[in-house]
Symmetry: C2
Subunit: 373 residues, 2 copies
DNA sequence: TTGAAAGCGCTAACAC
DNA sequence: GTGTTAGCGCTTTCAA
C-alpha cells in the first residue's frame, strides 16, 4: 500500500489536482466551500499528506533548517538551546535537521555541504559555550550563530551577556553585605566568558566602592577538582584578607568550593557564601545547600536564533552579537558574611549573623538552615 | 548566483546530464576514464553538488532518518544517544531530522505526520529513560525504539540491561566485602528500571548467599533530597542492621546519600560505600569522592538503533528488546566495610580497614584518601 | 561508450 | 470556479 498522491485525492473528490492543491494549501479561496469540503474529506479518506520532497523541489523551499553544532546536541550541557530552536521551528512549520560535528573541522565542512545539498532554508551554527568562532566556508548568507559570534563578522549572532551576569552575581554578594569577594576564575585561556564575567565582577565592586584585591582573583581548572584547589588557596589567606563570598566561573567549580569549605568545617552560607554560573541542570539545585547561580539563557538564545533565521523576528546585526540576559537564580548559598572584623567598614551593615539574612534586591532568599536536621 | 544544476556541469564538460549523473554517482563505469575526469573537473569548477531534494523525489529515497524523542535532545541527560545515532547516520551518508516532542502526544502525532511527509527513510523513536512506550499511531514499519520498548510489541527496540547492571553494582559491593547492602530505590512507580535493578540486587545477594533484609530496601523521591531522606532512614537503623554499602537507583540520589553521610560525620568510602547508576556527566565524577557507578550505554544504544534502522546491522527482534550492557565505572566510593562485628560472618573476610582495600574483579579501585589533605 | 527522454509529486501560471 | 500543463533537478531505462 503506497502512500496516496495528490492525483488520488483529486480522483476521489472528482476534481483536478489544482483544486486539491489549492484547498489543501489554503490558497486565497477562489474555490467554493462545497468543493473544499469534498476535497478535504477525500484527502482524509485516503490519508493524504503532501510530499514535502516534491513540494520542496517545486517551490525551492524545503521548510527545513539546518543546525550545525559543535557538541551541544550530544552533550549534557546546552541542550536547551536545541529546545528553543526546535520550538520556534515547529511554531513556524519548519523541521530541523541536525549535524553535530564534535568540533571536527572536516565533519563540519561536510555538514555545510550536506546542508547545501538538502537546500535547507536557513542554517544555525551553534557552539556549546560562548566563544568566537571561525565560521566554516560555505555557510549560507543569513546563517545565524548561536552562543558564539563570527570571529570575522558577517553573520548575525546571539550570546549570553556574561558581563552583566558577572556583575549581577557579585551584586548579589554585595547586597548580602559582603565586601571581601573573590572571583574564582577558569584557567582556560580561551573563554571570552571568563573575561566578561571578570569585567562584571570589577564593575560591581567599583559601583559599590569596594577596592579590588588582586589576591582575590584566582584561577583553576574548570572542574570540581580545580575549583577545590583554587578555593583552598583563597581560604588559606590570612583571616583579614580571606573572602567571605566567592563568585565562581561556573557551577562545577562551585562544587569544589563546597568541598573545600566542608573539609575545613565551614558551613555554607553561614561561614562562606558562594555564587556559581550556568545553573547547570541536575547539579546546581542538587548541591547542599542548593546553589545560587546565574543561568545561561540557552532556551531563549535558541529561540531567538531560529526566529531570526526564519525572518520571523527582525532583529540581529551582523556587526555585534545580540546579548541576552543571564538571570540570577536565588537559592541558598548566599547569606550575610560571618560576624567578624571586616577589613573596612564603609558599607552598610548587616555584618552580624543575627542581621537580616538577605538583602537580595527583589526576592527573599530562602536561607539555608545550616546543620540543623 | 544560483546554485549550479547538473545541466551546467554537463555543458561545462561537454557531455550529457546522463553521463554527469553516472560519473558523480560512481555507477559501474561504462564511462571512459577520460570522460570521468572531465566531468569531475567541471563539477568542481562550477561548485556543483546534487540537489538532495530532486534526487529524493526521483529515487524515493531521501537519505534522511527521522528521530522523534520525548526529551532526550533538549535535556541534559541522554544526549549521547543522539551522538551515537548521529555518528552511525553520518557513516552511512544519512542526515537526521529531529523532533523533540517534550512528551506532548499532540506534538508527537504531528511529528509522525511530518516525518511521513518528509518521506524519511527510517525513524527512530527515543525515550529519555528506559520505559515501555505506546508507539504513536502511524509510525512506519521498521521504526526502531530507543531506550524504550513498544508496550504492544511490533517494533524492534534497544534498552539498557538494567537487571545485569543492578547485579553488577551489588557485586561490586560484595566483592569489597560488604554483606549488609541496601538498595536505595526510587519511589516513582513507573520505571521498569527500578524493578529490573532490584531483581539484579536480589540476584547478586542470592548468588553470594546473603539473606535479604527487607528493611534494607528503601524508596525515596528521585532527587538528591529524596536520596538524603531515604539514606537517613537507612543510617538510623540499629548498628547491627545498618548497611555498610548502598546501591542507589541513580547518581542524583547518591548525591543525597553523600550529604546524609557527611552530616553524620561518616566518611565515604571508609565508613560507607556507595554505588550509583547512570554515570551522569558532570555529576558522578565531580562528587567527593568520585562516585563508583553503573553507566548507561547511551551512545551504543543510539548507534545500534540507527544501524538497525538503516539495515546496516541485521539484528533486532520485534518480540524482545535488545539489551545492552551497562558497564561499571569504578571510582572511589567503594571500599571495604568498616571493621566491626558483622551481623553474620559467612562471607570471605577482608572485614578490617587494613585489609585489601578492594576486591573488584578486574581493576584496582583508586581508593579515596579520606580526610587527608 | 554515450545520449534522449520519461517521469518522481507537486505548485502555479495560464487558460477556460 | 475550475482544469491543463509546464516545469522544479535529478536518475534511469532504452536506444544508439
Amino acid at each position: 500500500m503506497g502512500r496516496a498522491r495528490i492525483f488520488d485525492v483529486a480522483a476521489a473528490a472528482g476534481v483536478s489536482v489544482t483544486t486539491v492543491s489549492l484547498v489543501l494549501n489554503n490558497a486565497q479561496s477562489r474555490i467554493s466551500e462545497d468543493t473544499r469540503q469534498r476535497v478535504r474529506e477525500a484527502a482524509d479518506a485516503v490519508g493524504y499528506s503532501a510530499s514535502a520532497v516534491a513540494r520542496g523541489l517545486r517551490t525551492q523551499r524545503t521548510r527545513i533548517v539546518g543546525l550545525i553544532s559543535d557538541q551541544i546536541a550530544t552533550t549534557p550541557f546546552a541542550g536547551r538551546m536545541l529546545a528553543g530552536a526546535q520550538d520556534a521551528a515547529r511554531e513556524n512549520a519548519h523541521m530541523v535537521m541536525l549535524v553535530d560535528t564534535g568540533g571536527d573541522a572536516e565533519v563540519e565542512a561536510e555538514a555545510v555541504r550536506a546542508m547545501t545539498a538538502q537546500q535547507v532554508d536557513a542554517v544555525l551554527y551553534a557552539a556549546m559555550w560562548h566563544r568566537a568562532a571561525t565560521a566554516p566556508a560555505g555557510l549560507p548568507a543569513g546563517t545565524v550563530m548561536l552562543d558564539c559570534y563570527p570571529a570575522a563578522g558577517g553573520f548575525r549572532s546571539v550570546v549570553p551577556d556574561d558581563r552583566a551576569g558577572g556583575e549581577a552575581a557579585v551584586r548579589e554578594l554585595i547586597a548580602a553585605g559582603h565586601t571581601r569577594i573573590a572571583y574564582l576564575d577558569t584557567s582556560d585561556p580561551e573563554p571570552i566568558a571568563s573575561r566578561l564575567r571578570h569585567e562584571g565582577y570589577l564593575a560591581a565592586l567599583a559601583e559599590a566602592g569596594i577596592d579590588v584585591d588582586p589576591a582575590l582573583h584566582v584561577r583553576g581548572e574548570t572542574s570540581a577538582q580545580g575549583g577545590r584547589e583554587a578555593a583552598d588557596r583563597l581560604l588559606d589567606l590570612p583571616e583579614a584578607q580571606r573572602p567571605t563570598g566567592i563568585f565562581c566561573f561556573n557551577d562545577r567549580m562551585a562544587i569544589g568550593v563546597y568541598t573545600a569549605a566542608h573539609r575545613r568545617g565551614l558551613d555554607i552560607p553561614r561561614d562562606l557564601s558562594v555564587v556559581g554560573y550556568d545553573d547547570q541542570q541536575l547539579v546546581a539545585a542538587e548541591l547542599d545547600p542548593p546553589l545560587t547561580t546565574i543561568a545561561l539563557p540557552h532556551y531563549e538564545m535558541g529561540r531567538w536564533a531560529m526566529e531570526v533565521a526564519l525572518g520571523v523576528r527582525a532583529e540581529g546585526d551582523e556587526d555585534a552579537p545580540h546579548r541576552m540576559e543571564c538571570p540570577v537564580i536565588r537559592r541558598d548559598s548566599v547569606g550575610p558574611p560571618p560576624a567578624q572584623v571586616a577589613k573596612r567598614d564603609r558599607r552598610r551593615a548587616s555584618h552580624t549573623t543575627e542581621g537580616p539574612r538577605s538583602a537580595a534586591p527583589d526576592q527573599v532568599t530562602d536561607v539555608g538552615v545550616g546543620h540543623q536536621e
